[in-house]
Structures are given as C-alpha cells and as structure tokens.
Amino acid sequence: MRVTMDVNGRSVSGEVEGRTLLVDFLREGLHLTGTHVGCDTSQCGACTVHVDGLLVKACTMFAAEAEGAAVTTIEGIAAPDGTLSVVQQAFQDHHGLQCGFCTPGMVMAATALLKDNPKPSEAEIRHHLDGNICRCTGYHNIVKAIMAASGQEMPALAAE
C-alpha cells in the first residue's frame, strides 16, 4: 500500500507492506539512518522519533499507521545550516555520549521532555528516560546535558 507523511517538514510517500515498521520506512525507504535500531524489542529507545509531536518508538509502530502524520527524526533537529539544537550542543559540551548509538533516541526524548517541561528536575529527567537505554555513559552526563540544555545549574550527582 502507499503511505504519505511529512518527515522533517518534507512530504514523502512510498510503497510499504502492512508489516513495514516506521523505522524501516525511515531508514531503508528514506535513507534517514540516524534513527537507530538497538533492540527491535521495544526496550531500548534508540529508534525514538516524534510522531505528531509525541515521542514514539519507531520500531513499535507500522509505517501505515503514520499515514498523514508529521514525523520528526534526529535529522530534523539541527538547523538546516547544520547548527546543532540546544539539546544537541549540550550533549556535545557535557560529553553526553560515548559510542553515540543511543544518542539519536536520547536527543529526541530530551527534546520532547523540554517542550512539555522546560525546567525538569533531575528525578523527572531520569524518569522520562526510562525507555532510553545507554550502554556507555552511565547516564550522568546525559542528565547533566539535559539540565544544561534547560538552562539549569547542574546538580552534584550522588554517584560522583
């Protein structure tokens, strides 16, 4: 079947099967490979994108269900000239990534959080990241980056 949706501000359409996952449509159909597949079992959040402004795991939604929706992926977060978003810049400044595999999902999750809650507490940030797994950083620098992106002082973290 044919699906049409808006991805990062551009109208796109393509042929999909019923079982085609949104993440496969993005990666293989549109070559937007910034959205990663970490687990494919709905656990890790590496595939997180925004669908009509809401955080969604692109590996746990069919492309056909995104018909008519506005999808934002990590490729749509920086400005067209490549200037990083506040959240992306904060991840770089605060070393919020190591291998970077989880980072697209983390940035999408953090961006959605700050839209709803511009000054989250450390606890709120950690709760919001429940569905985003990072195997490298131990999360502290991710939390710091999100605190910084929201213009807040970084707390002294208990485990440091």
């Binding site: 709905s42 795991k57 569905g131």
Partner: protein, 262 residues
C-alpha cells in the same frame, strides 16, 4: 513477522465489520507488535483502531463514572484523570516509559490481560465496567486468568467505565528490565467498602485479596493488615522471585497503597 494487511477504518461500525471479517484489532501495538515480531501471531489482517475517533477520549456519565474510550492512550489517561481520579492517573503515568504511554491504550491492555499488567488491577479494584460492541461486563466477571478474558471471538472493547472511589492508590514494585510490575496493588476505598486488586503475583492473573478487603473495610489503615498473608501456593515463581517472595510483596505493597491512599 508474517505478512498481513492493515485496515484503517474511521468508524466503530467499520472496525467491527473488519474484525468480524477475519481481522485482529491493533490498538497501540505496544504488545501486539513485539508478539508479531516474535512470530507468535499470524493474523492475516490487522484492523487499526487508531483512526476511530469514537473510541478515544475521556468523559463522565450521568452516574458520575469516568468513561475512557478503549483506544485512549496511557498518556492521555495520566493527563486527563489527574484531577478527577488521581489514583488511576498515577497508574497510567507509570506504565512502561513515555513512548509506550504515547501509543499503548487501555483497551489493548485489558484485552491482553497480561498477568503483570497495571490496568487489570485498576479496573478490578475500581469495580469498573468493560463495555464492548455487544454488552457490558463487570470487572468481577471479566478477568479469566493469565491472558484470558470474558471477550468472545471478534468482540472488541469500546469503553471502560470507572466509578470514582473516595480514596485510591496504586503501588507498583517494578521489575526494572521489563518495567512491568513484579507485584503491584491497587486499593480503592468506596463508601460501602474497600476493594484490593493485585497484579503480577498470581498464576491465575489479577485477583482480589478479599481478607484484606474485609479488614480494611472496618479499619482503613495499614495496621489493619498486620498478620494477614496471601497464600503462596498459587503465586508465580520465576527468576525474579519465588512464591514466598511474591506473597510477601503482596502484603507489603497493599500496606503501602493503604498508607498512600489514607
């Protein structure tokens, strides 16, 4: 995944017809899609409820019950019920993670009746009514054990009606890898008595702890539960906890829920 088609009806009537014609309901997909990926289901045709406006949203009926459309997401329930039924809002707000809550729905959760799911405890403790395309089913008659419900083939949940208790709380002892409860307890105090429903613990799925209900109905305090214990015989035993551990958690989490609600 095996191949299948997806239909996207926009009215309940069309959805019911498509399901009667051999389709399986697809609501949030947060349980069904992982099941399809594991090739544990081969539905041939999925019928997405996502575009059916009649199945979405929250309202209050003439009896003061809160009515939640089957395709309403956990995130919407968490937001919309924060003032009217905070105990249930807080249950919805702790299901899975934010992305799961933006897609997963109450109808999907109750239809699936995972023995560790959150909503079955909220629905049973509240004495909710599960409304389908053909009838109304009291929560007490709806849950038939692990992954089993009163739903007939091709019957779909359209709405769930919740009487609002005087006080309520949900206490979830989380299994952090799955983010489901290891054991969780919903306590609801009504004018005519207290209802206690426990999920995650029993091999027969969600259940009411009637001894605790009797004790709490005369004295709504954690102390009223002293000495009461759940029989470990029918508890789930797995690598996360044995029967005795789960039975113990039932009492601990019930006390915590009573303290939180009181």
């Amino acid at each position: 995944m095996y191949a299948f088609e997806i239909e996207r009806p926009t009215t309940l009537q069309d959805a019911v017809a498509a399901i009667a014609g051999g389709g399986q309901a697809l609501s949030g997909g947060q349980t069904l899609i992982p099941t399809l990926k594991a090739r544990l289901a081969d539905p041939g045709k999925l019928v997405s409820l996502h575009g059916v406006a009649e199945l979405k949203g929250v309202c209050t009926d003439d009896d003061g019950r809160i009515c939640i459309g089957a395709a309403t997401t956990h995130a919407t329930v968490a937001r919309e019920l924060a003032g009217s039924y905070p105990g249930l809002a807080s249950l919805a707000a702790r299901i899975g993670d934010p992305a799961v809550r933006n897609r997963g729905t109450i109808g999907g959760s109750l239809a699936n009746n995972d023995p560790s799911a959150c909503y079955p405890a909220g629905a049973l403790a509240s004495g909710a009514t599960i409304v389908t395309n053909t009838r109304e089913i009291a929560a007490d008659d709806y849950f038939h054990g692990m992954f089993a419900t009163a739903l007939e083939e091709d019957e779909i949940i359209t709405e769930v009606k919740f009487p609002v208790p005087r006080a309520a709380a949900y206490e979830k002892f989380i299994q952090p890898a799955s983010r489901f409860p290891l054991v969780a307890v919903f306590v609801a105090k009504f004018d005519d008595g207290v209802r206690v429903a426990i999920t995650g613990a029993s091999e027969t799925g969600v259940f009411r702890w009637t001894e605790a209900e009797a004790a709490l109905s005369s004295d709504f305090s954690a102390g009223a539960l002293d000495g009461l214990r759940v029989d470990p015989d029918h508890m789930i035993a797995d690598l996360h906890g044995d029967k005795a551990y789960r039975a113990h958690l039932c009492a601990v989490m019930t006390k915590r829920a009573v303290t939180a609600a009181a």
